[in-house]
């Protein structure tokens, strides 16, 4: 299992030029807004086409400009949790999750659906519309839908940004459990330093379309490569101290 991304892409004056590889461990793309993190996810998902480069998942080429390979998003085995979750508002929780069962053999669909409902504590919500459930529940529906097909890669685009802090902490620990249940390479995009520090084994720091540092969380936060990383990490220290202050007051 693994994911290799080495791509270049220029959009509206912004140019992205990144190259990284991860194994089965979760990786965080970390950086300020507008540094090219979400763009990278869109390129991996096939929603946009890189100008050149290679994207490989589990050894199979999803994109290879030299070999003229560019598979469609439909052909790529991936789960994508969007920033706004992108749940279908006209479908129930059940229909949303089953919509993610494309390509799953019919004999397995029901069993896998039940498995997801149990894993994500959604059993009482089957008939509800996304507008009728809470933010955390919507989040879990989005994860369940993305994992129905047992994808080769799970892409998470700031999935917790819309949640308030306590729920965010809950979802983070939930995501950690998820890693052991569904063994799949996870790429998480965030500009939240706490999230980056708590969730990732490996952190890839983005700035203005390039990678400025990568390594284990402890190394990136303990030993920032330059001022830009230091600023991001400073943000984390501020956030952490703010959080500590909040909890101390409770």
């Amino acid at each position: 299992m693994g994911l290799l991304v080495a791509v270049k892409k220029t959009v509206k004056g912004f140019s992205l030029d990144v190259s990284w590889e991860i194994g089965n461990e979760p990786a965080v793309l970390f950086g300020f807004s507008g540094s090219g993190k979400s763009l990278t996810l869109q390129l991996i998902a096939g929603l946009m086409k890189p100008d050149c480069g290679v994207i490989r998942a589990n050894g199979s080429a999803w994109f290879d400009s030299a070999g003229h390979i560019n598979t469609t998003p439909q052909q790529r085995s991936l789960g994508y949790v969007f920033q706004d979750l992108a749940l279908f508002p006209h479908m129930s929780v059940r229909q949303n999750i089953l919509f993610g069962a494309k390509g799953v053999p019919e004999s397995e669909t029901t069993e896998r659906y039940r498995e997801m409902m149990d894993a994500f504590y959604l059993n009482d919500l089957e008939r509800k519309r996304p507008s009728e459930i809470s933010g955390g529940q919507r989040q879990r529906v989005a994860f369940a839908r993305a994992l129905m097909r047992r994808p080769d890669v799970l892409l998470l685009d700031e999935p917790f940004s819309a949640l308030d802090t306590p729920l965010r902490i809950e979802m983070r620990s939930f995501l950690k459990d998820l890693r052991s249940t569904f063994r799949v390479p996870v790429v998480l995009v965030t500009h939240d330093a706490v999230e980056a520090a708590t969730l990732a084994d490996s952190i890839i720091v983005y700035s203005e379309g390039t990678i400025i540092q990568r390594g284990p969380a402890a190394e990136v936060f303990g030993n920032p490569a330059d001022d830009r990383v230091r600023r991001l990490v400073m943000g984390q220290e501020l956030a952490l101290s703010a959080m500590c202050a909040v909890y101390a007051n409770k």
């Binding site: 998902a45 096939g46 929603l47 469609t72 998003p73 439909q74 790529r76 991936l78 789960g79 994508y80 969007f82 706004d84 992108a86 279908f88 508002p89 006209h90 919509f99 993610g100 494309k102 390509g103 507008s131 839908r145 993305a146 129905m148 097909r149």
Partner: protein, 174 residues
């Protein structure tokens, strides 16, 4: 070009339709040569005139409805393995449904009230091509007020219902 009739005076649209579909029109002449038939002054002409005049409303409202569907939802469907066709049927169209229905209602109402282009293309032949608006014009002209009033009331009622439906469906529920 298809939305031009929205701003053109209906008689101008009618004129162009005659140029295209009249007996000597650049399309109409083939019909006349090969089938010895012309659409002019038949009820088909009334249908064609209404269609051409109402089409821009359908296109405008329909396009707005389709474009209002969140792009992320469409992308989400793609990443879940659904083809463009499947996504259109199961995500885009259901989410644009209300706007599309509003478009149908509005353009139907517009077609119902069509006068200028119909008069040019289909004429006003009693019992054959006199649509309700044309009939009202003739009846009022010949002083037959009672029958004209009946039709006026009927059209007013229908217009009211259409307006209610169009408003009802153009409101978003999600």
């Amino acid at each position: 070009m298809l939305t031009l009739p929205l701003v053109l005076p209906p008689t101008v649209t009618g004129y162009y339709l005659i140029v295209a579909f009249g007996r000597n029109g650049f399309i109409g002449k083939y019909f006349y040569e090969w089938l010895d038939w012309s659409i002019m002054f038949t009820w088909y002409a009334a249908v064609l005139a209404s269609f051409v005049v109402a089409l821009p409303l359908m296109i405008k409202t329909g396009r707005a409805a389709l474009e209002s569907v969140d792009r992320n939802l469409i992308n989400a469907a793609y990443t879940l393995g659904h083809s463009e066709w499947d996504t259109a049927l199961r995500v885009t169209l259901p989410l644009a449904k209300r706007g599309l229905i509003a478009g149908v209602v509005l353009s139907f109402a517009r077609a119902l009230g069509e006068f200028g282009a119909t008069l040019m293309l289909a004429g006003n032949i009693p019992g054959k091509t006199d649509t309700m608006p044309l009939a009202i014009y003739s009846l009022a002209g010949s002083g037959d007020w009672s029958e004209a009033t009946g039709m006026v009331i009927l059209l007013t009622l229908m217009a009211g219902i259409f307006l209610y439906l169009a408003n009802h469906y153009s409101r978003r529920i999600f």
